[in-house]
């Protein structure tokens, strides 16, 4: 036991030293510049994978591996998220006890607006994601909120995503220092290593997309949320963005935060903003 912990501390300090040695990039003046960040982010992937069509990045692992892409296209003929889609459509049209429906809570009746979520709510001074807005709509109409990781929320977001399919992601950052802070906070979360495995989101989705981690082909970070919510064969069920963040955390042996925690809302804001212009492809099917 003694040996194991010293080994552990040893490997951790070694990792820190290694990090320090990597050519310390010029730390630009600490002014948050989302436009420049988004451009740099997209160019990184366009240069790293020159023969992947830009809009293909939203197909995650399938943009990285031909054999997997064929299996996916075969599944897309009659996709497993078909039931969630129908359930979402039905829920969307079923009025609450007070007679209202989701359509009354959203612009354009909730149809074809998914590409503007998450947005920064200047009144609240925080990022509001689609899942949060749906639960707030339920609570405003006297209904109990849904779990963020269960099927009902996935069905609703699946239907709303479907109505926006093909539309380019269109996330706006208002000229509000709190919005810039939320964007920066999301970026920090994305690059921060966590968990005993000492991985950050970037360790897998920036440094090694297309490669395998055990049996999975890693998706590129660019456009990784455009297909949400996703039906995962591994879960043999639907997964919302919240469920994906939580399972990723526990896979690096980091204790997940509560669903829709500020960090999760901000990292969704960051990842969606840098994917601006890439098409919405939700709901998606994944391994």
């Amino acid at each position: 036991m003694k040996a194991r912990t010293s080994l552990l501390l040893g490997s951790l300090s070694a990792a820190l030293v290694a990090l320090a040695l990597t050519s310390p990039r010029v730390i630009a003046a600490d002014k948050v510049d989302p436009v420049a960040d988004a451009k740099a982010f997209q160019n990184f992937f366009f240069q790293k994978f020159p023969d992947v069509k830009h809009e293909d990045f939203v197909n995650g692992p399938y943009s990285m591996n031909e054999d997997m892409k064929r299996q996916w296209q075969e599944k897309e003929e009659f996709p497993p998220y078909e039931f969630a889609l129908d359930a979402g459509k039905e829920m969307f049209s079923t009025p609450f006890k007070n007679g209202k429906t989701y359509a009354d809570c959203f612009a354009n009746g909730g149809i074809g607006i998914r590409q503007n979520y998450p947005y920064f709510d200047t009144k609240e001074g925080k990022v509001v994601t689609l899942e949060l807005a749906l639960n707030r709509c339920r609570e405003a109409n006297g209904e109990a909120p849904y779990s963020y990781v269960k099927d009902e929320m996935a069905s609703l977001t699946a239907y709303m995503a479907f109505t926006s399919r093909g539309k380019p992601m269109d996330i706006r950052i208002p000229d509000d220092p709190r919005a810039l802070e939320a964007f920066e906070n999301g970026k920090r979360y994305f690059y921060t290593r966590r968990g005993q495995l000492n991985f950050s989101c970037a360790s897998c989705h920036v440094q090694s997309p297309g490669e395998r981690i055990r049996a999975e082909i890693l998706a590129p970070a660019l456009g990784i949320l455009n297909a949400m919510p996703i039906y995962r064969s591994e879960w043999s069920g639907m997964g919302t963005t919240s469920r994906r963040f939580i399972t990723c955390n526990s896979q690096t042996r980091a204790v997940p935060l509560e669903p829709q925690a500020d960090e999760y809302r901000d990292v969704e804001y960051f990842l969606s903003y840098v994917a601006n212009g890439l098409p919405i492809s939700g709901p998606g099917a994944r391994p």
């Binding site: 003929e77 009659f78 497993p80 078909e82 039931f83 129908d86 039905e90 043999s236």
Partner: protein, 103 residues
């Protein structure tokens, strides 16, 4: 409640292509649930497609068929507008059926 059977039947005049997706857990009986108890086997055993009064396709399934099973086949001798009757039965006596118009 909507039927558990989703079907797409399209005819190009001579051959009708049929795709079906059925909502069913297809439990193998070898899987344990969170509390460690075995989930009993629950799977569709027979799936029948009938058109114009005769069977056009019969599937006998075991426990190795995926959850929310999918099957695709084609057959001759039907035309647009004909009715295609789909019915399944599982090992727990459950069943469902639906009728679709060939598009």
């Amino acid at each position: 409640m909507a039927s558990s059977i989703r079907v797409r039947a399209t005819s190009n005049g001579d051959i009708t292509e049929v795709q079906t997706l059925i909502q069913h857990p297809m439990d193998t009986g070898l899987v344990k649930d969170a509390k460690g108890a075995l989930i009993p086997a629950h799977y569709i055993r027979e799936l029948k497609f009938a058109c114009n009064g005769r069977d056009v396709f019969v599937a006998n399934w075991g426990t190795a068929i995926s959850k929310d099973p999918y099957v695709k086949f084609s057959f001759k001798g039907a035309k647009k507008g004909d009715d295609l009757k789909i019915s399944w039965s599982d090992n727990k006596g459950g069943s469902d059926e639906t009728t679709a118009k060939i598009a």
